[in-house]
């Protein structure tokens, strides 16, 4: 399959043809604008293409879910974003959404219903696990076979929504050697970026949170730190740079791990 045979249909295109996709891929602002996370978006789209999932994106019609505004205490701004997104989603009759961002996932799933937006929302880790379980996605013995991989739990995926196993199942499906950090699952340590901290300098303290976390990740001696969140991706990557371990220890999103093993 050559690069240019990948399809990224938009809802507008599908609607013009009178079609409805199986699932809407919610790209998120980081997935659309952040250079590193754009690679994750592309990786996930490639997987969807290879597996033959009938999906679509909103393209330029997508707005921020409003999560950073709400967490920063700006409820007006949050609800403005949310309402206009709900209008778009409802206009297209969207039923099911998959997203590679735990913050979008949490907001769409838990906070849009109160504003009138009701959708089935899943995180891409769960989606990938389902594809594997259904046998639609085959990855055994791929590029990460036997390699030590550690998974960093995102707060908005784990504690916030109880998704702990799906990302781990995905890593195990790669035949990788999943090693856990000391603080994992319900006790997983935040990367430091949640609650709109991504958009400000940290308060004064002894240490940056991502440094504390990357030290723990390095202790596992894993060569890959797997993440499932754009903010965790930034924080972990910065941590690796700070420890001068670039090229030695890699930070990958789950979909990148899968794609490299397909």
């Amino acid at each position: 399959m050559s690069e240019n045979t990948y399809k990224v249909p938009t809802m507008a295109e599908l609607q013009a043809k009178g079609e409805q996709p199986e699932v809407l891929f919610w790209v998120g602002c980081a997935g659309a604008f952040d250079d590193r996370y754009k690679q994750v978006t592309v990786a996930f789209v490639k997987i969807l293409n290879k597996v033959g999932v009938n999906f679509a994106v909103l393209g330029t019609e997508e707005n921020c879910t409003g999560d950073p505004a709400r967490r920063a205490g700006n409820e007006f701004l949050f609800q403005m974003q949310a309402m206009s997104n709900i209008q778009t989603l409802d206009m297209y009759g969207i039923k099911k959404i998959v997203t590679a961002c735990p913050h979008c996932f949490n907001t769409l799933k838990n906070e849009y219903p109160e504003l009138g937006g009701n959708y089935e929302v899943i995180h891409h880790s769960t989606f990938l696990q389902q594809l594997i379980d259904e046998g639609r996605l085959k990855v055994e013995g791929g590029a990460f076979k036997g390699k030590k991989v550690t998974f960093h739990d995102s707060c908005y995926l784990g504690r916030a929504n109880g998704v702990y196993e799906a990302p781990r199942e995905v890593i195990k499906a790669l035949d990788a050697d999943l090693v856990e950090m000391k603080r994992c699952r319900t006790k997983g340590l935040c990367c430091g970026a949640g609650g709109a901290q991504m958009f400000k300098e940290p308060e004064e303290g002894k240490k940056d949170i991502n440094i504390e976390r990357i030290e723990e990740a390095l202790e596992t001696e894993a060569k890959v730190v797997a993440v499932g969140c754009p903010f965790c991706m930034v924080m972990m990557t910065d941590g690796i740079k700070n420890k001068e371990k670039e090229g030695e220890v890699m930070v990958y999103d789950l979909s990148e791990l899968i794609l490299k093993s397909m």
């Binding site: 997935g31 659309a32 330029t60 950073p68 505004a69 409820e75 609800q79 906070e111 004064e204 303290g205």
Partner: protein
Amino acid sequence: MSYLPQILFLACLAAAGFFIYRRVNLIKRTILIGKDTGPMGQKGERLKTMLLVAFGQGKMFSKPLVGLMHFIIYAGFLIINIEVLEIILDGILGEHRLFAPLLGSTLYSALINFFEFLAVGVLVVCVVFLARRNVLNLSRFKRWEMKKWPTLDANLILVFEIILMAAFLTMNATDSILQTRDVPHYPPVGAFVFSQFLIPLFDGMGTEALVALERGAWWFHILGILAFAIYVTYSKHLHIALAFPNTYFSNLKPKGHMENMPTITNEVKIALGLMNPNDAPPADTNMTFGAKDINDLTWKQLMDAYSCTECGRCTAQCPASQTGKHLSPRAIMMETRDRLEDVGKELQKGKSVEEALNNGKTLFGDFITKEEIMACTTCNACVEACPVNISPLSIILDVRRFITMEQADTPSSWNAMFGNLENNMAPWKFSPSDRFNWADKLKD
């Protein structure tokens, strides 16, 4: 003359009852300063949570050894209450070991033996806990918010319990000796499993002195329990009662969910042309966005503050606390409670709620600082860790809403982010028309 002890006892009981009633009433009044939460529903699920988390101490066992030790104190506390009931009835009726003839001596001894077993368990655990707090250098017991009173409070409770249990065992030991000396008033029920080892200590004493010691221990034990019951209402130990309602009313939604603000929803709908301004319920012009003081929080958030055990499990998990930021979720709860106590003092002077709140202080500003609120990553580690399902995060977020919406006192980088969201519908400065550019190299 023979009625004097009974009268005295009743007087003590009534006095304790009065003080506890007055104090509980005050606590209730301060909690009800909080806003209504709206209907909560889900009774079955709530009951299950309470049974699991409070009654079954489910979350305590994430540290198995400490969980077990705490369970011993907890079970001891619950079960020894049966014995307290007997003591109270004895005191009122001028009887001694009222339950002995009712239960028969075999069953009665078995019961008291069981109580002694628990008493010794409680005693041992309290000694271990005292050592753990004061000798071992556990950072969560030594942080900045654990000032004089919280540390003293924790130690006092443990010492109290040790003394109470020692009095109980002394009472039983002297009682067993008196039984063998045929002193009236001490029906023969035999020696007890643990206190028998104390018998040699007292065996040499004369009967009169023994009676005095036994009575002394009896009075000390029961007065101690009454005093303890009053003390509890002023202490972090209030959790022994409030853990139950607090877990019953705990948040059952996914932890990532943030409370909606329906008043804003109406305004946003009007702004977007989705609602006719005439259809919207009249906006309350006095309402504050977010929380500046305790009357902006819900009664549940205020009950959280009284339920906090100051254990610091939240703070030990908090990423901000662990990296030296000036934020401790435990401190958020303690500060909220301090403000409640502060307002409670005013209420006690006979002031109305409104006057009491207007004493020149507010929760945010005088108790909780901006630095604390700004350091939170909303990671929910504190909520997850709390053994009585408290959410420090919900208070933090409500205060943050106040800082942002009422004071517009946010860091400039957040203001820039807000501006980007408003103009570009993304938190960064990118043109909305570029949002789909990522797909360029994929599309044909």
